[in-house]
Every structure is written in structure tokens, then in C-alpha cells.
Amino acid sequence: MPGAIHAEGLVKEFGKVTAVAGVDLDVPEGQVLGLLGPNGAGKTTTVRLLTTLLRPTSGTATVAGHDVVRSPEKVRRAIGLSGQFAAVDDRLTGRENLRMVGELYGMRSRAARDRTSELLDQFDLNGAADRRSSTYSGGMRRRLDLAAALVVRPSVMFLDEPSAGLDPGSRLMLWEAIEKLAAEGTTLLLTTQYLEEADRLADNIAVVDRGQVIARGTPGQLKAQTGNQSIEMTVRDVARIEDATSLLLRFGKAKPTVDGDSGRLSVAVDGGANLLSEVIHELAATGIEIDDIGLRRPTLDEVFLSLTGGTPANSDEEKR
């Protein structure tokens, strides 16, 4: 059964430029997919195709069960979009912006008014509700934009680089709002260049580069895919460091690196958590006391760079 977002062989060409070169996606209902990629990878174009703002050159896509080309009206009724540039009217107040969107969704005036108050509360914008949005900070504008996308409680939400240009505090607030949405069962597709963001918010990640999905999986799977895990430990008694080194040598796939002053050792391994428990067991058996031990997985940054060949496409993100 196709998911709430389903795309097959999606292609979008602008003249000679191919922005999206055959993307397949499937997001089951209630799941969060992170579309991760460098600038110009085709993330925004993909979102614009799925939200009916662009017609695909070829390929098909359904959102909430409706075909984006054949029934764009039905798709629009089921989705919320929060774009890369917060699209709120700068000369209207926060309240006026939300009411306008509500009325355009076809809500009656009273319903739009009530829903507006609810959203202003929820996104902590009450104090600024009657100020023009041009006076808002970047974070406030983003929250207002997100609120605008949520006026009719869409079943599928698209968030295009939701935290671009936000300070850490605002980003955290936005993440919490997004996590709440996901917890309520909204299907989400978010694009991001921040690996940390995808790691935290997404159930699944599709890594996009040059218009194609080059890897997909859960954040954990992607990290495992590149291997390069290591066991890191610190021995309590620096005198036992020789023993610890020879012990690690038996488990690691390369020579451990040793820091004799701090008693810290590190070795690349293949076995994951099971191997770690074996190492701990052995350490206990030989009576080597340790302060700290852990399995260190590669960060998504490392995964990302290894997948995209470390040379993100440098062209500007396609805005069309």
C-alpha cells in the first residue's frame, strides 16, 4: 500500500538543467522523512513537485492518496507547506495572517478566528499577535509560517529547510513544535542540510545529491552503512595501558591508538554493541579497571560527506 507520500521516478527539468533526476520516495502515514542534501541537490524542487507548485516533467506522485498532477486541488486541501522563506505577509499582523489563511482554506470567519487564537497560543506568539509580522524576529516569523501551514490540521506537512537561518534557541523551539506534530501522527517530509536536524527529527532519511536519492535508511542504518565504528576507552591506572592495548588488539581491525598520558585508547571495530560487551567482559576478567568505555558511531556528518564524495554540489539551490 502506498504511503501518505509516494513518488515514483519523479523528474523535473528546467530547460537543460535537470533539478530532480528520478526520485522515488515512500513515506508511510505518521512517519517523518528527512530529505537530506547539500545546496542545489534538488530538495526544494522535490517539495515543490509534491506540493503541486510545479508539474513534474515525468514520473508520478501521490500525496494523501491524491495524484499531484490529476487532482492538485485535493492534494492542496490535505497538505500544509512551510517554505524555505517564511511566506507570511510582512504588512499584516500575525493574527491577520493566520485568519487570512484560515478563510482561504474555506473556514467560516468564526472558525478561522478561534483556530487563529489556538495557534497563536500554541506557538507562543500571543504577545506579538497584533504586531505586524515585519517586526518579528526570524524565529517568530518561522513559527508564524509553521502555524499558517497548520491552520486546518493537515494530514501531510512539508517543511522546506524549517530551521534555516535560526539561532539555536529558536531552532530548538521549532524542533519541539515539529516533534509535537509528528507525535500527533502528522506525516512529515522535511528537507534540511543540517544532519543534526535530520538525526533528531526524522524516522527515515533519504540522502539527495544532484537530483537523485543516493542513500536511504534510518539515521542508525546510515551511520552503520559507512562502518568506521570504534571502541573508545580510558583506563583508570595508566600502568595497565600495555595490557589494555594488547587486549584491544585482539578485537579491533586495526592497531589501537594509544594516549599514554591520559590513558585513552581507541580502536576501529566491526562488531558493534556485542563486541563492546565482550571487550568489557574481558577487561573485567583480566582485572583492568576503566573509567569510561563506549562504542562510537560515525556522525551523520561523516556519513554524509562519505556518501556525497565530500564534494557537495556547489550550485545554488534551485528556487524555481
Binding site: P2, A64, G65, R91, E96, M100, Y105, A111, A112, V152
Partner: protein, 285 residues
């Protein structure tokens, strides 16, 4: 094929989507928004209206004395002659400027994306643009009329005819709004829209009977001036207001100016609106 059917948005709060009623309401919501935007920067609105007023005063007190209108009346007669020209020119500049810059602005700032991702009729955003221009035009005409009365312009055929004249101006303004909408979508940046307007608005308004009589022009220009939609509208206004018209030619548009003005306006509106709606649904594609 079975598909996951998403729950429709809270149904009891939502009017039936699609249909003329929804489309009218969408247009109303967008018109409200555009009018509100206009009112939020009153200084821009006021400065925009001050500019034609300054021109009227300059013409009335500097040039009017040097032009003579056949039939006598001196500078007073020229002031009455030029005012319908100023009405039409101001309406043209205000609407085309407004709609092209407003549209380009909405595209640049992502508002068009926002609106296009909503379940509203394709034409609502554009209709709301043109409708807001009508509101602004009414304001502008009121200001211009006050200014005209101050410099000595009067209506001579009663209120009914005068209202007909102003209606023709509003219809012309509505038609030119659609030209502006089309330009705004084509150029995409408000700066380009602003400077692009001068390229066609100055020739359009000056190559007319607004301030001089076309009979003084070389044949080609004269033909253009006489068939210019602006000229027909101005001529019709002069007739309706009972202002001097300097009419020395007997070409069709000058003999039936109200009809020609209306035909032009309807023609421009229909063609540009059709093109604009088509372009809107593919904007950015």
C-alpha cells in the same frame, strides 16, 4: 489500487470547496488583504497621490497660460481640457504600477507559493489584486477631483454624465491592472516591474490627446494617438464632463469615444486576464 485516504480538514468549519461562492469569497479575502497592505503604508499611498497633484499644479499654473484652446477661455479653458487627461494618466500609472509591483513582490517573497499551495481558485489571487486596485483608484480619483476643482475644473453636464465618465476611467483602470499583473509575473522582481512600467506607460499616456491635440502630430503618431485607448477614454470623459475637447478630426474613436473606450478596456481585460491566469498556474514552472 488502494490508497491511504487522509481525513479531510475539519469538515464542519469548511465551506464547500470549489464553486463560484468559494471563488468569490477567496477573491474577497485577497482584496481585503491587498487593501490592508496598502493602508499599512499610508505615507507611500499619500506620496503616490501627491505626485499627480504636483503635476496638475505645475501644468495649471505654468503651462496652461501658454496653450490656447479654440473657442477662447484662455488658461481656464486649458485647465478644463487637461484634467480628464490627468485623470486617465493617473489611473493608468496607479493601477499598472500597483499591480505589477504588488505581483512581483508576492512572487519574490514566496506569498504566491503560499497561496498556490492553498485550495483556492487559481484566479482568486489575481482577481483580488485587480479588485484592490479599483479601491485605490476610487481614492485617487477623489483626490484628483478635489485638486481639479481647486485649479478651476468643473463639470457642466450634471452628475449623471460625470459618473459615467468616472466609470469609464475605473473600467480602464481595471483593464490596465491586468496588464500590470502580467508584467509583474513576467519580471518577478518589484524593482524591474517599477522601471519596466515607465517604458510603456509614458508613451501610452503621452501619445494621446491628454495634453495636446493629435492633429498637430505627424500622420503615423497621429493615427496611434487617435486609436489609443487612453485617448478614447479621455475624449469620452471630456464629453461626459462637458469639458472642451479640441476635436478637429472625425476618426471613428473620436466620434464614438465612450464605445471605443469600453471596447478597448473589455478587450484588454479579457486578453490579459486569460494570459495572466494561465501564467499564474505555471509560474515558476
Amino acid at each position: 489500487m488502494t490508497v491511504a485516504v487522509a481525513p479531510e480538514p475539519t469538515a464542519q468549519d469548511v465551506l464547500a470547496a470549489g464553486g463560484t461562492l468559494k471563488s468569490l469569497r477567496d477573491t474577497w479575502v485577497i482584496t481585503k488583504r491587498n487593501t490592508l497592505r496598502m493602508m499599512r503604508i499610508p505615507e507611500a499611498l499619500l506620496l503616490g497621490m501627491a505626485q499627480p497633484v504636483v503635476f496638475v499644479l505645475l501644468f495649471a499654473y505654468i503651462f496652461a497660460g501658454t496653450f490656447t484652446v479654440p473657442g477662447g477661455g484662455g488658461s481656464m479653458a486649458y485647465r478644463e481640457y487637461m484634467m480628464p487627461g490627468f485623470f486617465a494618466q493617473t489611473v493608468a500609472f496607479v493601477t499598472a504600477g500597483n499591480s505589477s509591483i504588488g505581483m512581483a513582490n508576492d512572487i519574490q517573497r514566496g506569498m504566491v507559493d503560499r497561496f498556490r499551495s492553498l485550495p483556492i481558485s487559481r484566479a482568486a489571487l489575481l482577481n483580488g489584486r485587480a479588485a484592490a486596485d479599483i479601491v485605490q483608484n476610487c481614492l485617487v480619483i477623489v483626490v484628483m477631483v478635489i485638486c481639479a476643482v481647486v485649479v478651476g475644473w468643473r463639470i457642466h453636464r450634471g452628475l449623471g454624465h460625470a459618473i459615467l465618465g468616472f466609470l469609464l476611467l475605473l473600467v480602464l483602470g481595471y483593464a490596465l491592472s491586468w496588464v500590470g499583473v502580467l508584467i509583474g509575473m513576467a519580471v518577478r522582481t518589484p524593482e524591474a516591474a517599477g522601471s519596466g512600467n515607465f517604458l510603456w506607460l509614458f508613451p501610452l499616456t503621452f501619445l494621446s490627446n491628454a495634453f495636446v491635440t493629435p492633429s498637430t502630430l505627424p500622420a503615423v503618431l497621429r493615427f496611434a494617438a487617435e486609436w489609443n485607448p487612453i485617448s478614447a477614454t479621455i475624449q469620452a470623459c471630456r464629453n461626459q464632463f462637458g469639458n472642451p475637447s479640441l476635436m478637429q478630426t472625425h476618426t471613428f474613436p473620436m466620434l464614438h469615444p465612450a464605445l471605443v473606450s469600453l471596447l478597448w478596456s473589455v478587450g484588454i481585460a479579457v486578453i490579459c486576464r486569460t494570459l495572466a491566469v494561465r501564467k499564474y498556474s505555471s509560474v515558476g514552472a
